[in-house]
């Protein structure tokens, strides 16, 4: 049985200003698939995610997500509602944001938005997700006081609370200690299966990619190759 393609990219050229990072890249990701992407720094892994998220418009080529061509700013904006994004661990500033609020952010444009405050259902959803990722007991702690592994769990929680069908993970285990890395990888595997997500994960670590992915591609010179 052929599975439905949820991300389809043909002959994509993308980059910043005149600088091309991705050259004639092709990619198809099917529903429920877990795809791993490996590659050195600067090969365009994060750029590829930005294109899928609609944060950068392609210079050339076609990109469609969930059957919708990302050819207008409006479609690119709408498609972000369908995608959960977990960025690389960043050092949070000193701004106090509770775990609850940081996860609640994922409900923006799904449950609340401009001139629309979060409602009880949004907060209930946050509590359910916190239970699932094991952070209920730290719900009201400021994120910047959590460990690196817990902060990545918050990012995963924010992506899950969005009820998106696609999850993009940009080196989710980088900068974590071994125990936290194992915990995060296990969590990703669990939520992938439980929520029937289509998952694309970027990582430098082949072990982590193999632990999660159905197939692994290598991004080299702006193109994807079978590994």
């Amino acid at each position: 049985m052929t599975r439905e393609a949820v991300v389809e990219i043909h002959s994509l050229v993308a980059g910043y200003g005149r600088h091309q990072v991705l050259h004639k890249l092709d990619l198809t990701v099917c529903r429920g698939e877990a795809l791993g992407i490996a590659g050195d720094n600067g090969t365009g892994k994060t750029t590829l995610f930005k294109v899928i998220l609609g944060l950068i418009a392609p210079m050339e080529g076609d990109v469609s997500v969930q059957g919708q061509m990302l050819d207008t700013p409006r479609v690119r904006r709408l498609i972000r509602c369908q995608i959960g994004y977990v960025p690389q661990l960043h050092t949070p500033g000193k701004m106090p944001v509770s775990v609850h609020d940081a996860v609640l952010m994922g409900r923006w444009s799904k449950g609340f938005g401009f001139f629309k405050r979060p409602v009880i259902q949004d907060r209930q959803k946050v509590s359910e997700i916190l239970q699932e990722i094991g952070l209920s007991h730290k719900e009201w702690r400021p994120v910047h006081l959590l460990s690196g592994g817990e902060q990545q769990k918050v990012s995963i929680g924010r992506a899950l609370v969005r009820e998106a069908s696609i999850l993009l993970l940009d080196e989710p285990s980088t900068y974590l200690d071994h125990a936290s890395q194992a915990e995060i990888i296990e969590l990703i595997r669990t939520v992938h299966l439980k929520h029937h997500l289509t998952l694309i994960m970027i990582s430098h670590d082949p072990e982590h990619l193999e632990a999660i992915s159905d197939r692994i591609l290598l991004l080299k010179n702006g193109r994807l190759e079978e590994r």
Partner: protein, 273 residues
């Protein structure tokens, strides 16, 4: 003359109202400055104001009008310029600062503009506020409070992580640019109130005190407003009662707030242990 006697004099009434409004509204932007790494912005806008004043003096306009126009234009340009040059806003602020200072001195030299007249803009005094200026401060304070009220969640996301905010569909750059404009306006207004050298006291110190003990952005904003009001109104009242310079009194009151907040933070931390 007692403090109560001072309160009957319109000049001091205006000063206290200005101090209250500035503390309540303008101090909120200190939280933005600290979280978006915009601490260089004060220097950038100060020098851009100088350039604006120099141009206004050549054209025969009041230097203050030129300075405020310069601040508004620069606040609008800082964010997009940083994006275009692929620079952090704080770094593009340095570019604006040095460029405008060089240009201002060139204008002073070539056009024979008396530089000290332009520099006089920076020695503000809360006691010299006109009724119009009070209205401007009040209007700006109300605008800032309303923006934080209606766009609290979106501002929280931008201050927390701009990349995450963008990935969620929040127009993060536009919100950041709006915050930059408000910050520029707040700094411009505060320059008139406390002078350029003491502006950190009015805008940054209440936020530093608030962020050292707050547990949420909402808490930080409310505490920042509280510390802003206490330091500004308290500073002005102290200066009246003890015949001290108002700017210096406001600054010392704000420093005291930061010290008290830090002590409170340490006490709370040690009790939790």
């Amino acid at each position: 003359m007692s403090l109560l006697d001072f309160l009957t004099i319109p000049l001091f009434q205006k000063a206290l109202i200005g101090a209250f409004l500035s503390g309540a509204g303008l101090s909120l932007l200190g939280v933005v400055i600290l979280n978006l790494n915009l601490t260089t912005i004060r220097f950038a806008l100060m020098h851009i104001a100088l350039l604006g004043a120099a141009i206004a003096m050549i054209l025969g306009f009041p230097p203050l009008a030129g300075a405020m126009a310069g601040i508004i234009i620069a606040s609008l340009l800082l964010g997009p310029a940083g994006d275009f040059l692929n620079m952090d806003t704080g770094v593009s602020g340095v570019l604006f600062m040095t460029g405008s200072l060089g240009l201002a001195f060139l204008i002073f030299y070539k056009a024979g503009v008396p530089a000290m007249d332009a520099f006089a803009l920076f020695s503000g005094s809360i006691l010299a506020l006109s009724t119009l200026e009070i209205w401007v401060i009040g209007g700006l304070a109300v605008l800032i409070i309303l923006i934080f009220f209606f766009f609290y969640r979106e501002i929280q996301m931008v201050l927390f992580n701009q990349e995450v905010a963008e990935s969620l569909g929040v127009p993060a750059k536009q919100i950041r640019n709006a915050l930059l404009l408000l910050t520029g306006l707040a700094i411009g207004v505060n320059i008139r109130m406390v002078g350029v050298l003491l502006i950190d006291a009015a805008v940054l110190l209440p936020a530093i005190a608030a962020l050292s003990i707050a547990k949420s952005l909402r808490g930080a904003l409310m505490l920042s407003a509280f510390f802003g009001i206490v330091s500004q109104v308290g500073g002005v009242a102290f200066s009246m009662a003890y015949d001290c310079p108002s700017g210096a009194s406001i600054t010392l009151a704000a420093v005291l707030m930061v010290c008290l907040a830090a002590i409170y933070g340490h006490i709370v931390k040690s009790i939790r242990r």
